[in-house]
């Protein structure tokens, strides 16, 4: 016998599958018809999916906005750089690394995992303090955490290279690698959202007081989601570095925070599909605006936007979304197969 509940769970399970299939189709389309620059764009978009879905695991389920997730991307990127750069390069650029790290030449996959793991560990330690605060105060504290990480990374020159860039990272990240990690992030996010902890966390999002009264330990579930989400942001940061081959602390600061927030808010913070749709929408809009900034010819008339207007217009669009469609494009709904497709005929027991 299949209960209504099981059918709904089955329908919900189609969400990550559908999302991954859409992204797969996107990659195939780009690789078949696009050139090098569209492949680049697809890679960037898929890395953003990893980052934003990672971000959603915490922000979407808990309802607490974090401004600190770019810092996890920063840590992940540098951990991956420390463990994969050639030793000769490291003695030159980063003389302050401890000997075992200076000699390390890890495979890139292990390095990405390490980047995520260190970010998650950092999230556990700092989250233990930050997440004891109430929602809004916790958001502010994550902002302080971001500034703290940026201050350390910009000044700890022997180990991080300071504000100058670290160059020479292996550029192994293309559309397929990025798709693999994006798919992993989506699967884990969907699994977490439907786990006991994910459901408890969503309950605290809807009503913190009622959830506490029902015996839910808000702090514990927030901390778990925070660490899990930091893992994927760490991995996403490492992928960013290995996609362009260069990293520096300011690439992982306010502008990345803004882009991640814009994507999540545009798509809708309430659902996993919203996070993915937001990445796609903002990436496409950004590309279109960038093309316009470089200038196009419309009906024989050259048209171009003044340089720098891309960010202004994306910020404006974000405010308009908040005013006119506060729950985002998807308004908290998930992309899923309709219940009657996955349920089949309902069989009654006799």
């Amino acid at each position: 016998m299949t209960t209504q509940h099981q059918i709904r769970r089955r329908a919900a399970a189609t969400t990550p599958v559908l999302l991954i299939l859409v992204l797969l189709a996107f990659v195939l389309l780009v690789l078949t018809f696009g050139d090098r620059s569209t492949a680049r764009m697809a890679t960037d978009a898929l890395i953003s999916v990893t980052l934003v879905v990672g971000f959603w695991i915490f922000a979407g389920n808990s309802g607490v906005i974090s401004f600190g997730h770019a810092a996890f991307a920063c840590v992940g990127a540098y951990v991956s750089a420390w463990t994969t750069l050639r030793p000769a390069m490291k003695t030159m650029l980063l003389p302050g690394l401890p000997a075992w790290l200076a000699q390390a030449e890890w495979p890139v996959f292990a390095a990405a995992l390490a980047g995520g793991a260190v970010a998650a560990l950092l999230a556990l330690v700092t989250g233990a303090a930050i997440l004891r605060l109430s929602g809004i105060a916790a958001s502010i504290a994550t902002f302080a955490f971001l500034a703290m990480v940026n201050a350390i990374w910009s000044n700890w020159t022997p180990v991080t290279g300071g504000t100058s860039s670290v160059v020479g990272l292996a550029r192994y990240v293309g559309p397929w690698v990025a798709l693999g990690w994006a798919a992993a992030a989506i699967l884990v996010a969907a699994l977490y959202a439907h786990s006991a902890s994910g459901l408890a966390l969503r309950a605290t999002r809807e009503d913190e007081v009622a959830a506490a009264a029902s015996g839910i330990d808000t702090f514990r579930h927030r901390l778990l989601a925070y660490a899990l989400s930091a893992f994927f942001c760490g991995v996403g940061g490492a992928l960013m570095g290995h996609a362009i081959g260069v990293i520096n602390p300011d690439a992982y600061y306010l502008s990345l925070t803004f882009v991640m927030l814009a994507m999540l808010v545009t798509g809708g913070i309430g659902s996993l599909s919203g996070a993915v749709v937001g990445v796609v929408a903002v990436t496409l809009a950004g590309e279109a605006l960038l093309t316009l900034e470089h200038g196009v010819t419309l009906a024989g008339v050259p048209v171009s936007l003044p340089p720098g207007s891309q960010q202004i217009l994306i910020a404006l669009a974000m405010i308009l979304v908040l005013v006119f469609r506060p729950a985002g494009l998807l308004a908290g709904r998930e992309i899923a197969l309709p219940v009657r497709w996955v349920g089949g005929r309902r069989t009654d027991s006799n």
Binding site: A129, G135, A147, I152, S309, M318, L322, P326
Partner: protein, 302 residues
């Protein structure tokens, strides 16, 4: 040496307190954590100079005599804040604090990029009131004149604001709105007046911070409001969200802690001063998660 330290702590803490008040005033009336406050500060800084991408700025408003200049910059700060309220935050009045916060962040990015497009990205040299750097002997210490003026001005502003909040009608209405906005409206407090008033005050306070920053550093930089806004945020959290005296006290405390760290940290650790400062703040919050001066009723009762 130690007297000098007292003056450093007071002037730095005073500026932090003014910035924190700017954040706390708006949070009090509409539960908005204003992430655009740093850009209000930067905007007021750039209002002083003529738009151009040159490395050395030509003073526009900044060349006017001081009383006129100060009035004008305060008015610009207040006007910008009121405009932001009218265009961005009024349509969002019923939105959740989280949406408000995200919207203010987007507004900040927008303002920053507008400044970048208009003035270029490089920091500019601005010589505003260069004579104020001259040291003045006070008892055993040599104190820059600017520090004395800052301390005096902060004291005057705090006293004036306290009087306004305690004695005038709009002050009373603001405190009532901060306490319970719905109830205040039922009793005849006009929401638009109170909220616009809070934004105007907050914008004017941002302009005060801007003037002090320019006079101190002699630089106009698009990013210059960011660090001070962060400290102001931290001060409002440490002071207890929604408590104005708490924000002021915490701003002063953080200024003092910052001056002490600067003086007593070993030189090789000084670049990390802010990291130590934020670390200290996290320790304080671990002990008192609701802040040092949390207003009663800030925590929902189960």
């Amino acid at each position: 040496m130690s007297l000098q330290l007292v003056f450093d702590a007071l002037s730095l803490g005073g500026i932090y307190a003014i910035a924190a008040l700017g954040i706390a005033l708006i949070f009090g009336v509409m539960k908005l954590v204003n992430f655009a406050h740093g850009q209000f500060i930067a905007f007021a800084v750039f209002a002083l100079i003529v738009p151009s991408a040159n490395a050395v700025a030509t003073l526009g408003i900044g060349a006017l005599p001081a009383p006129l200049l100060i009035t004008l910059v305060l008015a610009i700060g207040a006007g910008l804040a009121v405009l932001a309220e009218r265009l961005v935050f009024r349509p969002l009045r019923d939105a959740s604090p989280v949406s408000l916060m995200v919207a203010s962040f987007a507004l900040g990015v927008m303002l920053q990029n507008l400044l970048l497009v208009t003035y270029g990205g490089r920091p500019k040299a601005v010589s505003l009131w260069a004579g104020l750097g001259a040291p003045v002997p006070v008892l055993t210490a040599q104190v820059p004149l600017l520090q004395l003026i800052v301390i005096g001005a902060v004291a005057a502003i705090l006293a004036g604001l306290a009087l306004m909040l305690k004695r005038t009608r709009i002050g009373l209405e603001m405190r009532a709105a901060a306490e319970d906005f719905g109830m205040a409206r039922l009793l005849g407090v006009k929401a638009n007046v109170v909220i616009s008033g809070a934004f105007a005050l907050s914008g004017a306070l941002a302009a005060v911070v801007a003037l002090v920053l320019v006079a101190q550093t002699g630089v106009a930089d698009v990013r210059m409001g960011g660090q001070i806004m962060l400290v102001a945020f931290i001060a409002t959290v440490v002071g207890g969200m929604g408590s104005l005296p708490g924000a002021v006290a915490a701003g002063l405390l953080i200024g003092a802690a910052s001056a002490l760290l600067q003086a007593f940290l070993p030189p090789e650790a000084r670049p990390f001063r802010d990291a130590f400062l934020y670390g200290l703040v996290i320790l304080v919050l671990l002990a008192r998660p609701q802040g040092l001066f949390a207003p009663a009723g800030a925590k929902p009762r189960v």
